[in-house]
């Protein structure tokens, strides 16, 4: 008896090999997204670096007579205030541009702290095992289960909301994810024969960790770093939004969002635009990270 016509969806899904055209399309799509991400990031970095030359106004300059002006192309707007002004007459566009500095600085610095702490602990736990491993793993479990916000907020309040303290708070709460990956990979690499060879050459633990194990960890870590920068940017803006981050009048996008919230009803752009900036930055970083990960290690790609 001839097999029944198989048009069902289950049959389709049973076939694990997609059409080559689909795969190619997906790859191009991913690459295109990655390129988009790269553009967004490049734009962000460019703005952050060159903002004093690009920005039309001083972001702190208040002008009470020019409060809450709409964007220049709308009725009531003025050409020198491209996107209008906020509730104390500061140019929205300039403040948006300057906000990039805060986000990028905090994002990169916080991740740096996370990386240093996270990798150090991960290497230590993974290489020595035993009590060190148990202790570190326990701490990682504790911190990863806990909503970051409470911890970070408390830290900032206790330490005082300054730029350094925010970086510290973010760094001290965000390291577990690096430790987890580092530890896992170290455990695996420790048993590899080239590490045994390094031990038999009496190369010393620091050299083995830094020269043999760590370089082989870097690919996985690099992808993680990208995503963590995006997360740090969002977290900083969250803290600022809640009032526990960068304090006004410094133009952090999060703070701007908080300030703009009061004017949601009629001048919604004051709240929407800073949020859009955060979203685009994070999106760009994530897209780039995704693309890089797909390109370098196809097995690790999430299906």
């Amino acid at each position: 008896m001839p097999p029944p016509e198989s048009t069902s969806a289950v049959e389709e899904a049973l076939d694990p090999l997609p059409r080559p055209a689909d795969l190619l399309l997906r790859k191009i799509w991913h690459l295109r997204l990655g390129v988009l991400g790269a553009f967004l990031i490049a734009g962000l970095v460019f703005i952050a670096v060159f903002v004093p030359y690009v920005s039309p106004h001083d972001p702190y300059e208040q002008n009470i007579t020019a409060r809450l002006l709409p964007p220049s192309w709308m009725e009531g707007g003025r050409p020198e205030y491209l996107l209008g002004t906020d509730h104390v007459g500061r140019d929205l566009f300039s403040r948006l541009l300057y906000g990039s500095r805060i986000s990028l600085t905090v994002g990169l610095a916080a991740v740096l702290v996370q990386v240093v702490i996270g990798i150090a602990l991960g290497l230590w736990a993974g290489y020595y095992g035993g009590a060190a491993d148990s202790a570190v793993s326990f701490m990682v479990n504790v911190m990863m289960g806990f909503p970051f916000i409470l911890l970070a907020m408390s830290l900032v309040v206790v330490l005082g909301p300054s730029l350094q303290n925010i970086i510290l708070a973010l760094g001290l709460t965000g390291w577990p994810v690096f430790t987890r990956v580092t530890r896992m990979e170290t455990l695996r690499l420790r048993e590899q024969e080239f590490v045994l060879a390094a031990r038999s050459l009496a190369l010393g633990v620091p050299r083995i960790l830094l020269g043999h194990i760590l370089p082989n960890l870097l690919p996985s870590l690099l992808v993680l770093v990208t995503f963590e920068v995006a997360r740090a940017i969002i977290r900083e803006s969250l803290l600022s939004f809640l009032g526990l981050g960068i304090q006004p009048p410094t133009p952090s996008w999060g703070t701007m969002l908080a300030e703009g919230r009061d004017y949601m009803l009629f001048e919604w752009r004051l709240a929407a635009l800073p949020g859009l900036a955060i979203f685009l930055s994070a999106m760009g970083i994530n897209l780039l990270g995704d693309a890089v990960r797909d390109l370098t290690d196809p097995h690790m790609r999430k299906s």
Partner: protein, 306 residues
């Protein structure tokens, strides 16, 4: 199985202990904890008196011990000095609101994630699948509070469909629930999708189909049950996400729950309440994880061989 449960239980208790330690010692990061606990306008002599009364001049470890004893035996976190009411009572008043929000969010998220994720897996590489993937991508980059504000702007201000704040009627719940739900939606969707994908290529699905079962049955009974396992495992982690998200969502929508209480208390330095909240959150998260892990171990025996 028993050893696994026991081990996890001990771990859970240990974690709670450590968290209580952290929240307690947070006080001491600043120079003088008494200053943190008292309103700023207290006179110097009163501060000294307070210290002696509260036992703040005793060694730190004893203080922690006393704190722990009060908490575990009496559930007493002290009195909020913003509202002069026992901290635990304030907590109890606010919990229902947060619970409602969290449950509604969970419902919404799964109501969308499960069908969409499953369909995306079944019709792989279709438009729906790509759309779903794109949604996931967006979800990872979206600041939660911005989503909330944008939803308010779009649905509240422009379209005027839904009320913006308030918490009396059910309709007030919609926007906050959708916002918080969107926080966990991407993860769930991705999980359902990959879980289904993995299962659908297995041989026992072919067998079921070969037996002549209708597709609906095949999908529902066999495929889906197994794809649901990762959802259970991840629900523990989601509790932590939900709580964190609740903090933000409640602030945006002025929802009278624990989250907003947390932010306000931390900002005002109302330490007893903060400690109580941290403890409550920790308990929730840790034991939520525990329940989820045990449930997962029940469903999937392989996990017990940990």
């Amino acid at each position: 199985m028993k050893t696994y449960c026991l081990r996890r239980l001990l771990q859970a208790v240990g974690v709670c202990l450590v968290i209580s330690m952290i929240s307690f010692f947070l006080l001491f990061l600043n120079a003088d904890p008494a200053l943190m606990l008292l309103p700023p306008d207290t006179k110097v002599e009163d501060i000294a008196l307070f210290k002696r009364q509260m036992g703040l001049d005793r060694p730190v470890v004893f203080q922690y011990g006393a704190f722990l004893k009060k908490v575990v035996l009496e559930g007493d976190f002290g009195t909020s000095f913003v509202s002069k009411v026992p901290a635990s009572r304030i907590l109890a008043e606010r919990i229902p609101a947060t619970l409602t929000l969290a449950l509604a969010a969970l419902l919404f998220a799964n109501a969308v994630a499960i069908p969409v994720g499953a369909l995306a897996a079944i019709r792989r590489y279709s438009l729906l699948d790509n759309l779903a993937t794109f949604l996931v991508l967006m979800g990872q980059a979206m600041p939660l509070y911005w989503l909330g504000i944008m939803l308010i702007i779009i649905f509240g201000v422009w379209l005027g469909w839904l009320p913006i704040s308030g918490s009396e009627k059910a309709v007030h719940l919609v926007l906050p629930a959708v916002t918080l739900g969107a926080w966990i939606l991407p993860i769930n969707m991705r999980l359902v999708r990959s879980g289904m994908l993995e299962v659908l290529t297995k041989d026992y699905i072919r067998t079921a189909r070969a037996k002549g079962l209708s597709e609906g049955r095949v999908l529902l009974k066999h495929a889906f049950k197994n794809a649901a396992i990762p959802l259970v495992t991840v629900s523990g982690m989601q509790l932590s996400l939900l709580l964190g998200g609740a903090v933000v969502t409640e602030t945006v929508f002025a929802w009278p729950g624990l989250g907003r209480l947390a932010v306000d208390s931390i900002k005002m330095g109302d330490y007893p309440v903060v400690q109580a909240i941290v403890f409550a959150f920790a308990l929730c998260v840790v034991f939520g994880n525990l329940v989820a892990d045990v449930a997962a171990a029940l469903i999937d025996p392989r996990i017990r061989l940990d």
